[in-house]
Every structure is written in C-alpha cells, then in structure tokens.
C-alpha cells in the first residue's frame, strides 16, 4: 500500500512518467535501427549517439560551452533591455503607442534574414552572435513585462494615489511586484528563444568559420557525413534548452512560490 502511495505522489510522477516515455522511445528507436539494419550515416542508434558523445566530448563539450555562453549573454542582454523598454512604455500610453509597432517589427523580422547584416556590421564574432540572439529573445520580455506593469489592482492604485505616492514609489512598491508573475512568464519563453537565436546566428556565421559552437559542429558533421556526431550535438542543444527551462521554473518558484496562484500546489 505504501509503495503504491510513493509511486502515486506527484513529485515521483513528474520524473517517472517522462522517464518512462524516454525509455520507450529510445528502446523502440534502438530496436528499429537494429531490426531494419539502418546504416549509421542515415540514422545512428541511440547507443552510437551516446558513444559519440563520450568519445567526441573534447570538442563537443567546448562547443556546448561556447553556445551556452552566447545564450546566457544574449538572455541577460534581452532581459535588461526588455525591462528598460517596458519601464519606458508604461510611463505613458503615447510612448507605447508610438514605439510598440517597432517592437512588433523586431519580432516578426526573421533573424536568419537579419543575421548576415549584423555579422558584417559587428566585427567581434561573439558580440554579433549575442546581438542576433538578443533580438530573438527580446520581444516576449517587452510584451510580458509591459502587460505585467499595467496589470495592477485599480483599488490599490487608487490607494497609492490617495497616499500621494511618487512615481518611483508606485513603480517599486506596486508595479514591479505586480509585474513579476508576467515577467517570469516572459523569461521562460525568452530563455528558449535565446538558445534558438544563438544556434541560428551561429549557423549563419559558422559557415565563415568564425565560431565553434554547437551549430558549427552540426554543420561540420553534416559536411563530413558524421551523422552520429550531428545527433550528439543535437542532443546537447536539447538538453541545454531543457536545463534553461528548469532553471527558469526554479527561479519563478523561488520568487513567487509563497504568494502567487500559479505556483501554489494543485494536489
């Protein structure tokens, strides 16, 4: 009875169920590759993929660090710039009305189309990659934080006005705490986008031989028909994305856990 209860606890389920899916998927992948005798230059087996990951760790691990560095730098840049722009937007509706279309413009312009320009204009390869990835990650932060800064209880706002709170007091004591849940929602989306932006920008730049991130590894492995290595690099990118998401979820819980409805237990 207690053993059943332990398996039924939501904490265990949250790890157990996805793990079961992974085992089933990897198992059937392995079985299909062995059963149909697929050559490794078309579809490598998961075992081969993990083997390659270990044997090529020297270069793959270094590339992972490069990609992670660009992802984190652009994520931080996007967060800082995005939050500052949001503060500007909520100062007046006129500013927001005038500038918001350009934020949208930024969002809808495909980064692959802009990246070559940025790479030509900005000399330092790291800086150019960070700039591309930041552009991709910027919009969710702006739109979520702006929405959050506006989503304040009108009665509380009246209360602040009645107590003659200054603009700064209202911002620090009311707008920013009210915006936190939205801001963290934006962070979750943007962390993934920063990684995608970093990889895409590297693809564009990588052909020039400047970068040695994971995207470059995938490109090179493609030229050399080293498909197992391509899969290993892909795996690393996915794992990095999952890790970032988990980090954001943990940060959200840390910041909002005690008071916000989204973080309360639903058992």
């Amino acid at each position: 009875m207690t053993r059943v209860a332990a398996f039924a606890s939501p904490r265990v389920q949250r790890i157990l169920y996805p793990a079961l899916v992974a085992v089933v998927l990897l198992g059937s992948w392995q079985a299909l590759v062995t059963g149909f005798k697929l050559p490794p230059y078309l579809v490598p087996s998961p075992l081969l993929m993990f083997q390659t990951l270990v044997t090529d760790w020297q270069s793959l691990g270094g590339s992972l660090l490069v990609t992670l560095k660009i992802t984190l730098l652009s994520f931080i840049a996007a967060t800082v710039v995005g939050v500052l722009i949001s503060f500007l937007f909520v100062q007046s509706r006129k500013i927001e009305t005038a500038l918001f279309p350009y934020a949208v413009l930024l969002q809808v312009t495909p980064i692959v189309a802009v990246a070559p320009l940025i790479i030509i204009w900005v000399k330092d390869p790291t800086a150019s990659l960070v700039m591309c990835a930041s552009l991709v990650a910027l919009f969710p932060i702006i739109s979520n934080t702006t929405l959050g800064l506006r989503s304040i209880d009108p009665d509380l706002q009246s209360y602040f006005a009645m107590n003659r709170a200054s603009r700064l007091q209202t911002l620090v004591r009311l707008r920013i705490p009210s915006a936190l849940p939205y801001f963290f929602g934006g962070l979750r989306i943007s962390s993934g986008l920063a990684l995608i932006g970093a990889v895409v920008a590297e693809f564009v730049a990588g052909t020039g031989g400047a970068a040695t991130g994971l995207a470059y590894q995938i490109l090179m492995a493609g030229y050399q028909l080293n498909i197992p290595r391509m899969f290993a690099a892909l795996l690393l990118i996915s794992l990095a994305g999952v890790g970032l998401f988990a980090l954001m979820a943990w940060l959200t819980k840390l910041a909002l856990g005690s008071w916000h409805a989204s973080e309360l237990s639903r058992d």
């Binding site: 009665d155 009246s158 009645m162 107590n163 003659r164 004591r173 008071w259």
Partner: protein, 277 residues
Amino acid sequence: MREPPAALAGALQGSATPAVEVLSAHKTYPNGTVALQPVELTVQEGEFVTLLGPSGCGKSTLLKMIAGLLEPTDGRLLLWRKPVAALEESQRKLAFVFQSPTLMPWASVAANVRLPLDLAGVARAEADSRVMDALALVGLAKFASALPRNLSGGMQMRVSIARSLVVQPNLLLMDEPFGALDEITRHKLDADLLALWREKKLTVIFVTHSIHEAVFLSTRVVMMAARPGRITEEVLIDEPYPRSHDFMVTPRFAAYAKRLQDSLLRASHDTDEENRA
C-alpha cells in the same frame, strides 16, 4: 422633509465642528450620465454617518469625492472647513477602506499595514511599533508575518482596517467594507468597528446597502436614490451607545428599519414614475 443636519448632529455629539462639508457638489460623466445630482451634506466631527441606497445611487461616488479620488464636476468640498487641495499633509488625516481588502498579495500582513507609513517616509522603528499597535487593535497581532492569502476574508478586511488606522486618521471613509463577508463575520466586524469608533473618537462615513447594518452602526443615515443619484432623506438614529446585538431585536430597531425601508421604496417608486413620464 430633510432635517437640518448640522444642528442635529451638533446636538447629538455636543460639538459643532464640521469635519466634512459637501456644497452642491455633483458628478456628471463626459457621456452625459449623471452619477450624482448636486448634494449638500455636512458631517460633524465624531459622527458615524451611513450612506444608504441601492446600486447606482452615487453613494460610492460621493464617498470617493470626499476622499479626493474623484473630482466633482462642479461644487465644493471642504474638510475641516478648508478645500481639500489647501490641506497640509498633517491635517489631511483621512483613511479609505475599500469594498475588497485591497492588500498587496506579495507582502506580509505587517508590511501591508506599514504601507501608508512607508509611503509617507515614517522611520522604520516608529512605523513598526505603530503597525503592531494597529494590528493589536483589530486582534491580528499574532498574524503580523502571515501572507494575506493565508487569512480568511474577514481577517483580510481587518488587515485593511488596521492599515487605515495606522495613519491615526480623524476621518475614516468606508466603501461597503463588509459587503462580501458572511453575515456572522459582518456582525462581529460591525461591533468591533463601533468599539474602535468610540475609543478613537473617529469620524466615520460608511457606505452600505444593508438597512440593518445602517441602523445598527450609525448616528445618522443619509438615504440616497438612483437614476439620477441623489440624497432623498436623512434619518437620525437616536439610540445610545454602546449598542449590542440585542439592539437588533428591539421594536425600536424594527421601527427604524421599517422607516428606512419605506423611504427606499418610496424613492425607487418616484424614480419609476419619473422614468415613465
């Protein structure tokens, strides 16, 4: 039909200092909706005045104008005989309690109560001791570090009242503060509010749509009617304090309730007649 309120209240409280004077203030929205026809209202220091009326009678509008949350379209508002804008910060001792507790969900009970002091730049040590005093007054001293969401609706309302008392107000404005609570909790809070009013010698203007609450609490009930919002009648509740809940089952209480009920019906009938015409 309307009695002269100043003379009445003066006789009642033994003082004649008006805390609030509303001089033909009215509110018309830009789309032409008349929220409140020009009204005259004087509230003496130490009075407990209830604004009673159906939805849309402008009772909240009137209260918000007194609080300075809404500008009247025309007319004047005096607090302690001065226009609101001319009052110094130290003279402007009014506190507003909203219909909902209006607490900051991320801040502890103590931090919520300390908010008006923080905004006014009161030193931390003094603020903290005043916060504890205010929480003790509403019986929540043990919950200082709790978060609002861990408290019941009635307790959250008490926090809101503590936040209004911490500024040591002379004038307490309450906009249907207990409307969302269950009846038992409401009775308890009504009784506690009366005790606070007497102890702190507050002036209270209280908005409600409950006839029983109005009779139980007030020294004077100002009756209002809707479409357009206006004052129809003022009724003095000439009963001694302290009032216990036994007062609510006396024939005198029933007589007051009947009188207010009739007045409300008459007013709504008049409105219907006018609208038909």
